[in-house]
Amino acid sequence: MGTDSTLMAMVQLVPEGMGVEVRSSLDLPTILLLVLMLAGLVLAMLVGRWIGRRKDSMVDASIVRAFNRRVVAWLTMTAILAVASIVSRYVVVALFGLLSFWALREFITMTPTRRADHRALFWSFFVVTPLQYVLIGIGETTFSYFATLIPVYASLILPARIAFTGDHKRFLERAAKIQFGLLVCVYSLSFVPALLDMKLRQYNPSATGEEDRLQEWSGESHVGLLFFFVLMVLLGDLLQFTWDKLVGRHLISPAVNGTKTWEGLCGGVISVGLLGAVVQFALGVTPFYVYGAGFMAALVAFMGTCGSLTMSAIKRDRGVRDYGTLVHGHAGILDRIDSLCFAAPVFYYVTRFFLGMPG
């Protein structure tokens, strides 16, 4: 009871009104999930530091360092995201907008374009990217626009813009670079904040007939759903890494990525699936059934690996080790969010397919 009233007080600190949507509905399970995530990440950071300090460590020092950097990045990201989602949905949308902008910047910096692509790039950065996030910010009512802006309009118009310039050298390759950059860095990533504004249904356990089998999801805040998704992406990365190290024998594709193994992939997907089911069973922050949550978690973990492998392939092709070293002194954002990018749209669309409101 005592915890409940402090939480209410904390939430009420945010002023109501002023035309800003206030997420006063951060329910107890969501807050528990947040606290658990942050605590888990702090713990992971401490363990990483401890292993890094030990002299007789069995693990390669560079791997430990990479792991530590990753955990610190996740912790920062989760903390900022937690604060943002308490304040307002718009702040979360804006944050991801900035993240997309920076990721696209890294992506295009890495892929060589020609001078004739300049205008198309300008449109990508200053029209398409902001517009996508404005539509996401307006909410699910603009679904048919933000779902098609990049795959339909931008993907067709930007190559045409390049064709207008008359430079046809390696045309398809150049167009594909811009399309893929927008698809991964902007379109895909924008579905993370889009999770905050979805009208969803959930299964009615006391249903008698076919028509009331699904009822409107009672979860007032979608922050729980968002953090469930982010947690599963992080767990996917972490558990796969652990399985790789413990039992990994057969590399998936040695030429592309030297750490990802089939054992890690299978172990990661299965264990994340189980953990997803456990989290849903214990906290109930999503509209899924327990096994549904397990399936979604496994799917997210699988897509996360697809993302890491795909981005590794691009990096290998360009001859860079990670986006951080691409330009000296920049932290590579794209290295940190590749799994998030690939998992987000799949998570969004599958959720919408099964539990979205009809019509």
């Binding site: 910047r105 910096t109 300008f122 950065f125 002194g329």
Partner: protein, 201 residues
């Protein structure tokens, strides 16, 4: 250093995403000539803006008068950056650009110059004009610092007026001086090679 200058410098750094690397060279307020490859109109501004505050207060970029003296905005910007505008078309014997530069720096300022004279078309480093040699000859005390500017030509290519905010990188290398008895051609080749070497480092 007033507020508008800081704002403009910050804007130039954000748009170009520039990161500065000092290789065998440290930021210093001693008199220097930074000589760089020239790929974009932004070169001088971004290099200048990326320098540490106390260094750039004493550094003047040399820019083309025919570009930076046209239009109120460009004139305003070039004045804010304390640019030294040189007329490329009217080079007179008794008042050569090198004399103007030496006069402008006095015993205090450093310079940013682009010895290629103009922007190279597809990012390749052109031949150096002789100005750098005469600078080194008339003022042997100046440190000549090679600078390689990478990717800025994609931020603002030739003939475009709207920048695309990609990431760029500026590398500053070990200072060189004109050796005793070194011929003009030898020196210019060596200076050009210093800039090229930074590309790989």
């Amino acid at each position: 250093m007033n507020l508008t200058v800081s704002l403009l410098a910050g804007l130039a750094k954000v748009v170009s995403g520039a990161s500065l690397r000092w290789v065998d060279c440290q930021p210093d307020t001693c008199q220097r000539v930074y000589f760089a490859n020239h790929t974009s109109h932004l070169d001088a501004l971004v290099l200048w803006a990326s320098l540490p505050r106390h260094v750039r207060a004493l550094t003047r970029p040399v820019a083309a008068k025919d570009y930076w003296d046209r239009g109120a905005l460009r004139r305003y910007i070039s004045r804010q950056f304390n640019a030294l505008l040189i007329d490329r078309r009217q080079i007179r014997v008794h008042q050569s650009p090198v004399d103007l530069m030496i006069e402008a720096i006095g015993d205090q300022y450093s310079l940013i110059v682009f010895p290629e004279g103009g922007r190279s078309e597809e990012g390749e480093l052109g031949e150096f004009k002789s100005g750098l040699y005469y600078l080194g000859k008339k003022r042997p005390d100046l440190e000549l610092v090679p600078v390689y500017i990478d990717n800025l030509n994609r931020v603002l290519p030739r003939g475009e007026f709207l920048p695309v905010p990609l990431l760029s990188c500026i590398t500053l290398g070990r200072p060189i001086w004109l050796e005793a008895g070194e011929s003009k051609a030898d020196f210019l080749t060596r200076a050009r090679q210093c800039v090229l070497d930074l590309k790989e480092s």
